[in-house]
Structure formats: structure tokens, C-alpha cells
Symmetry: C2
Subunit: 603 residues, 2 copies
Amino acid sequence: MHNLQANAVDRLAQLREQMQKNGIDAYIIPSADPHMSEYLPEYWQSRCWLSGFTGSVGTLVVTQTEAGLWVDGRYWVQAAKQLAGTGIELQKQTHDPNSTYLAWLSQNLPQHSTIAMDGDVISAQLYTQLTAQFSANYQLRCDLDLIHLIWSDRPALPKATIYSLASQAIATPRHEKLAQLRHALKQKNMQGHFISALDDIAWLLNLRGADVEFNPVFLAHFYLDTAQTAILFVDVDKLDAQLQAALAADGIQILPYDVSKDILKTLDITSLWIDAAKVSIAHLQACPSTVNIMREVNPTTLFKSQKSELEIENMRQTMLQDGIALAQFFAWLEQALAAKERINELTIDERLTAYRAQQNGFLGLSFATIAGFNENGALPHYRATNDAFAQIEEQGLLLIDSGGQYQTGTTDITRVIPIGEPTAAQRSDYTLVLKAHIALAQTVFPEGIAAPLLDSICRKELWQAQLDYRHGTGHGVGFALNVHEGPQVLSYYAPITAHSGMKVGMITSNEPGLYREGQWGIRLENLVVNQPMPNANTGYGNFLYFENLTLCPFDYRCIDLTMLSASELAWLNDYHALVWEKLSPHVVDDAKAWLAQMTAPLA
Amino acid sequence: MHNLQANAVDRLAQLREQMQKNGIDAYIIPSADPHMSEYLPEYWQSRCWLSGFTGSVGTLVVTQTEAGLWVDGRYWVQAAKQLAGTGIELQKQTHDPNSTYLAWLSQNLPQHSTIAMDGDVISAQLYTQLTAQFSANYQLRCDLDLIHLIWSDRPALPKATIYSLASQAIATPRHEKLAQLRHALKQKNMQGHFISALDDIAWLLNLRGADVEFNPVFLAHFYLDTAQTAILFVDVDKLDAQLQAALAADGIQILPYDVSKDILKTLDITSLWIDAAKVSIAHLQACPSTVNIMREVNPTTLFKSQKSELEIENMRQTMLQDGIALAQFFAWLEQALAAKERINELTIDERLTAYRAQQNGFLGLSFATIAGFNENGALPHYRATNDAFAQIEEQGLLLIDSGGQYQTGTTDITRVIPIGEPTAAQRSDYTLVLKAHIALAQTVFPEGIAAPLLDSICRKELWQAQLDYRHGTGHGVGFALNVHEGPQVLSYYAPITAHSGMKVGMITSNEPGLYREGQWGIRLENLVVNQPMPNANTGYGNFLYFENLTLCPFDYRCIDLTMLSASELAWLNDYHALVWEKLSPHVVDDAKAWLAQMTAPLA
């Protein structure tokens, strides 16, 4: 038995012992931290530590007799492997409400059982849902961190230095953002506001950090009221004297990261605005019962989603840099393949990252590179590891989904290239996905329309062939911040809320795909920004279009031109002309030759 | 001053007097009956009686100093005319929450005011919303029908005979439907179920009536439990002895229409299922407080939305009849126009209805015919009246939206024809709408997808030109029942609920439009039915397509063929070939010649 699996068996036994001591019948361990982050500091990776499952999302539920890990479709294969022999059952979560751990608990747990969890890593929203569903039949507790009792060598919290956003990328000074936020509170008659979302805090303060992989954020909570108070709860050692002074000058007090709940307990206000999806139930329960709580999306989430013209211009420049690195990389790859060099999926990541690293202001990757050859490309969230990776050889399709964090922006792009001669079926699939990509790219749409409502325009061509893909078509993208950012989600799976509307300046990915299990995967992704159409005064309000930000050709060798309409072909040639115009002055030699070949007009 | 306006002034004064006597500061008068019907018996047309506004939807709110009528965009012109001089202000309701009467009351009514309404004509859902919004600042009462105190010559309730659905149209016998409904209750652990929705009751009992215009329903409430009890609350005089016996044989007791609340008061069950959007707050409040209420869409609403194969086959036959009548009508119209006969919008309605009336099983119209010439066509809900109608002469576009109720189905179709030679702008607009219609008609989509998510496929071409239309693209259609039926609504404006999913057998309209204020209006409408695609086993579940039910050509004289893609043209020619194949054996002379000309292949 593998070490990790032996660990899981042992740790599960220890947890059950603690559960018994504390009178707990079921313990819930989500993939979460007190900020409801996508990437967790090791300190909060308790679900991974306990189960051995290394995927990014999954909820572990343990009773005295059973243990289950609920994961969505992208992780079924991986989880099945990693859970084998642990005594933890893989539970396949789908869109069916009966497939959730909530349904499982309802069906399997005897009445009057006690369900517990660590309130620090359960959002106020989720706890409300659990209460609504379970309080009639079960006892619920959120005051028990049983993991802490058994995780003896639990890692420390990260200590990365906090730095200021590059001056050329600062569209709005910190004190103006604070004033804007206080104005939003006053408009809703709220006195105080507590933020735990790390990207919201980073955006608000024009600061960045490196406490987790990929997202340039730092661990912090933030409180402000409409009067004078503004408190940053953060490890002060991460801030140099200059930054401390700058924050103080803007009226921001610095308190230790771990006293946020204590301060909330002493709140002397009547009303507090929190984003219940982004604040832990432990923090909410710390507030005095006299404080009237309003649960609403953070104003900062909405503010930061609408990029300013300066930010968009920075993004255009960043895309130029990213495009240069990509052209250099692809030119190298073509040469290496032609020379029959031994290349595997890990090589792809290394070389592509190396080219990006040569660019000014490069900080790191914006997420773990997905380089999936053939059947690995058919796993939308595949990640090659040192233990398991494929050689890139013979014939097939190579999918590369990658992105960079730069001081002046965040990138995210997926391309698919042929290894050897692509088959007719591969070209047909590629072209279908390209048609879907172009359909969305060409769309003009009413300002404010809920993003999920645009998804069917993208998928229509795939649906026509009774095909689809099991992921969203687009996610919001941060500015020199998280590559996944709300509020807009361009996916027909996504719920529509009051904040789903498409607004000017939002940056979103356009990434339809098609996955043939065991064969190949295709995904074609650009980032686009919502721009206003010139007003046509048609009496039907304002319309938006997508300006393309990403600069990298689509591989003509994979395209079946007979499947493209005249309008689609024109879009493609226009796009390639733009890519050539922007990138060609900045690349030389092989990269320039590659670019010329890849952007030549198609007919 | 017009009579109606003098009436309104007088009645408003009487209402205010009653309000003062009863200590009421604001009185709400919706357009509703105790069944939340679309068409109201005269008895419940109190908003119309009081205000003089004859439109179908609008809410009147009266205080001692102000009176406002909230209506949506389709009625702004009409309401402005009809309210002039009444002292009632037109309030334009839009999608903006600030434009509602709820917002107006919040802003204008002093704290501690008393707001009252007649609980018989306010849904439980609306009252819950009013309570949530107002109970903190206002007193709410729903036990006062002040209208009854001042409407001395209030009309009686209708007395139309109830009849059995035609035997060839009965897919499922009544006793099976009752068993199916009881099964649905048991699945949710509910003991009782109370239905006020008239079309649900008509569907459940395989009965039809004629108590209101256009919808073949009868006034009734229905109660059943999972044991033996089933009660139809109805005026027994409407049922002949044979029907009474048939209902009794199926275990259905008949009680007077007006005792439904009294019986609810005596309920001896622990749980009751109601559709809060379709049951009045007065009925809900009649239930003993010991009864646990579950608020969920009626199972019958979902059952009846999925038409059986027998019902669909009946609809195909009915569409054949409707198509014959339409061909005869359009052939007559062409002749009459060529002969320079004097034709106005009312003539259109008369002649078209006369042709439909010649068809077997014709019962009446499924809604008031909309025949709008030029600028009148630009009002999506226009209705010509004896006081105001247009002559059809010179040049322009004539929009005709009409439908019939037959014993074997319900139809709803919109066509636009040119009078004289259409202009390039008119042909461009027509073709844009046709492209939108075809885009939706051709769509293949995942089974169960929420209907609103398909709307962008239809509107895309219009959006591209920064155009749109302010109504839904499609509504569900009943089988020999209401022409507007839930739960599916194909509109990006519509909220997405758990019951928005597209399922096999649902019949929906496909009716994009384009309206040039003061010039012309275009709407092209067919009914379509969701059919399963042959299973392609692609691993992405089941897909549906729309089978076209409506049989009537699109007018080639309005089409700019250069704007159609090859695929759109092929769809149009295929459709016209189908129309010719189905209808031509059943028409002769002028109608056949017209059909041949209108369905000839286009290239």
C-alpha cells in the first residue's frame, strides 16, 4: 500500500476517535479556508492531508462507519485512484441534488445525530443552507476543529512579503477606492463592512502578495465603517515600513491576522454588510447579536470586475508580452518535434514557463499549466505529475492551457496543436470548437444581460451534433489578480443572480471545448473584454461586444476550412491579421517565421 | 369628458370614502381573480371598472391624495389615453425594481400606514412578498373587498355549461390522472392538495368550459387527499346529470363553488400542497394553522405541459385545419386587395374567424386577434376596436396574430404580409426576424435545459444590429386549453426556476419580432413541440429538437434572399415543401393557387 493511503487509514482512525470523544456522529471537511479561496495555504489543506486526494475541490464526510469524498466530474478518475485502499468511498457529485453529501447525510444519518465542522472553513452561506436542511432532524455544531487535534505537524501560515501594485497599473488610488466603498455602504444604509475575500482586499488596497500558488494575494481580513475606522487584519511582518506608513496615511489601522473575530465581537455598530459566500460562519457568529447583518455580494467584487481603461490598456500590453512568449515557445516546439527531440508534457510546462519568465514583470503562472496529450487532453483539469506524464510522440493532439501573472495583468489561454498529421475526425472536432469560439467572439449583446444567457450562442454548433462539454464557457479574470474572478460566469450551468449582468470592462474567458474520452481533448480559449458598441440609437438600449485581448494564432493544420462559414473565415483571417500586426515587430528568427506561417490568410 | 372618465372620478371618490371609513391609507386593486387567471370574468374586472383602463394587466393603487395605475410597456400608449382626466396617474412599470408600485408605496406612504386589499384576488405568493417588504413599516390587511361595497351593479358569475373533452383527444382517463396526482403527493409525503388554477383543473378532469373569453375553462377549485377524498367546488348547474354521474364514478364529490374556503377551514390533515402563485391568500389563510403548507408548482402544471403522443397527433390534425382556414383567408385577402375592396383591421378579424369557424370542432378564438397595419403593428398587443381601427390601404406591412380553439387543439400563429410593394427597410426587418425564427427552429438543445437559456440563439441576429424586442420569444401552449401555459417560458427576461426545464412533448411558441415605433411591426410565430433527437450516444445525454406544428407559408415578397444563409434558405424551402404537401390536398381554387405561389421553392 502506498504511503498516502496508509496515512489516510491512520488519520481517519484518529479523527473517528476524536469524533467519539466529542460526541460527533458526522464530521464535514470541505476544501476551504476562512476566505473561501480557490487555492489554499497548506495550513488549510486538511481534506487533502486526511484523504490523500490532491484535487482542488472535494468534500470529505466521515461517520464512525463510513467515509465519503464528494467530487465533481473532473476529478472522478484521479480521486478513484488516490482513494483506493483508504476506506474512503468516491462519491460522484453531479448536477443532480441527490448526488450531494447533503442528500447522503439526510438518507444515511439517524435522526438526532450530531453533525460537526470547523466554522472557520464553512461559509456563512453554506452553514445557513446546512441549518435549513438539517436543523429539524440533527444537531449542528460549527465550533470544532477536530483536525487541529490530530494534525500534529500542521504547517505554519505563509509569510510572503506584501508589495504594492506596479504604479503604471494603478487606475484608482487606495483612498479613492475606500471612499467609493464607504459611499456604497451609505447608499444601503449600512454602517460597517467586513471582507474576507482575499482578492477583494488586494484590489481595494492596491496591494499584492504571494501567500498561495498562482493567486497574488495575501492572508488578511478587512473591516471598515462609514466613519473613520478601517482595519487590515494581517501579519504585520509581511509589510515593510514604507507600506505600513502608506496604509496609515490612508487611515488604515493594522492589527494581527488572528484577532479579526475578537474585534468583530466588540463591534459597536447597528448594521454590517457581509458577503455570506465569502465570510466564514465563525466570523459571522462572532458579531454581536445586536448587529443587523446584510448578506450581499461585496461592493469590491463588483467594482473590480469592471476594469478601467488604464487596466485594459495594461492588459493589452501584457497580452503582447504573453503572445511573444507563446510565439517563441510554439516555434521552439515545432523545431524540437521536427528534430525528434524527446518531449513530454512536463517539458511543455517547463519551456513555456521559461519563455514567459523572460518577459518584463513576469511574476509566475496564473494557474498550473495543463499540457495534455491525446487522452490526457480529454481530462479538462488534467495535470501531469512527475509520477504520471505522457511522452509527446507519434500522432495526436496536444492541448495546452496556461497563463501568466504579470505586474501589469493576468493571462489565460488554451491552444491545441497537432502532433503529426491530424485525422479527419480530429480536424472536424477542432473546427466545431473553433466555430463555437467564433460564435461567442462575434456576439453583440444587451448591456446587463446575465452572462449565463449567452452560453447557448457558443454551444449551439456543438449541440447540433449532440455534443457538449461539462465545464463553463467563460469565467471572469482579475487584473494582475486571480485568474478566476466573479461575479460573471458564462455558463448555462451557473445560477443567475442579481450580479450576473455583463457590464463594460469585464474581462471573461471564451473557452468552449470538446472531449473524446480516451482519445483527445480540444479547448480553444481567448480572453475578451466587454466594450460598448457605438450607440446606434435603435431604441433598444446599449449593446456590448467582446474585444479580443489574447494574441496567438489558431492552428490552421487542425481546421477543416469547408466547415467554416464565410463570416467565420473572415473573423479568423481578421484575427490572424491582428495577431501578426501586433506580434511580428517583437519577434525574430524562428518565432517570426512560425508567426508568419500561422497567421497567413486562409481561404 | 368621456363617460368612462367621469365614472372613474366618481368611483375613485366612493372608494376613498370607504377607505376613510375603514381606516385604510392605501388600497391595492390588481388584475386578478381567485384563480390568478389571465382572462377574468366580468365579476372580477374591478380594476377596469374603477379606472376605465381596459388592458389585460395593470395594478391600481389608491391613497387619499393619489392614484396610480402600474402597467408594462405594451399598454403605455393605451393607458395614457384611457386615464386622461380620471385623476389616475399612469405609472410606467419596467424591469427596474424602482418602477413598481411596491417601490412607490415604500417611498410615498408614511410609516404605520395601513395597506389593504381583497385577499381573494391576491396570490399567496404576492402577499408573502408584500409582507416581507412592508410588514416592518406598515399594517397589511387582506380581508377587505372595498370594491364590493361600491360596485352596486356588479355582474354575476358566469354560468356556461361544462362539457367533456372530445373522446379522441383524451389521452389519459380522469381516474388515471387522479391516481398520478395522488402518487405525486405521496412522493413528497403530502396528505392534501388544493388547486385553484382553472386550466390545471380542466386538464385533470378532462373537462372544458366557457366561463371566460378565449380560455375553455370553468370557475372551480379542487381538493384531493391521498386517501379517498376528491372535491370539485363548482356551480353544479353547469354540469349535466351524465357528467355528474361520471365524476361521482371517479370518486369526485361536487360542492358549491363558494364553499371552498369553508371546507379548507375544516381540513383534518397535517400537510397540504399548494401552488402559492396560483392560490389566493384568502384560501391559504382559511387553512387551519396546524396544517403544514408546502408551496410548490402544481404537479398538474408539469403533467399537462408534456403533451402525450395522442395529444400531439391531435395538434397536428388541428394545425392542418387551421392551416386550411389560413390559406383560404389569405387567398381571399389577396383577391380583395387586388379588387381594391375597402378592408380594415376589423375586417381581417371577422373574415379570418369566419374561415376558422368553417372547420370541424372549432370552438372560438384562442385570444383576441391582433391585426395591426403599419404603426399599429408596432404595438405588440394592439387590438383594433370599433372606435379605433386602421384602413388597410396604400403601402405597408400588415401583422396578423391569431389563433383558434378547437376540440382537438389550440393554435397561435403570427404572419406579416405586404400591402403594395414592401420597402427595402421593411424587407430587411422582415428577413432579420425570419432569421431569428429559423435560428430557434433549427436549434438542437440538451433535454432539461432551462427554456430562457435558448433565447439568445433566437435574438443573436437582431442583437448584432443592436435591435431587440420587448417580449418573450416563446410561451407554453395548452392542448385544447389556455394558449398561454406554464411552466416553460422562452425568454431571457424570465426567471429561471426548478421547473423551467425543456421536456419532451412541451409545446412552445417561436415568435421573435421587431417593432419600429410609428412605422411597422413584424412578428413571425409558429408553434413547435419538443421531440427527442435519435440517440447519438455521444456521452452528453439526451438532446431535443423542435418539430414544427404550424402550417402556413412565410411571405416571400417580404424576404430579402441575399440576407439568408444557405442553411436558412434550405430550412425555408423545406418548410414550404412541408406546408404544400400537407395543405394542398385540402384546398381548391384560389386558396390552392395562393398556396402554390407562396410555397414555391426560393433560390
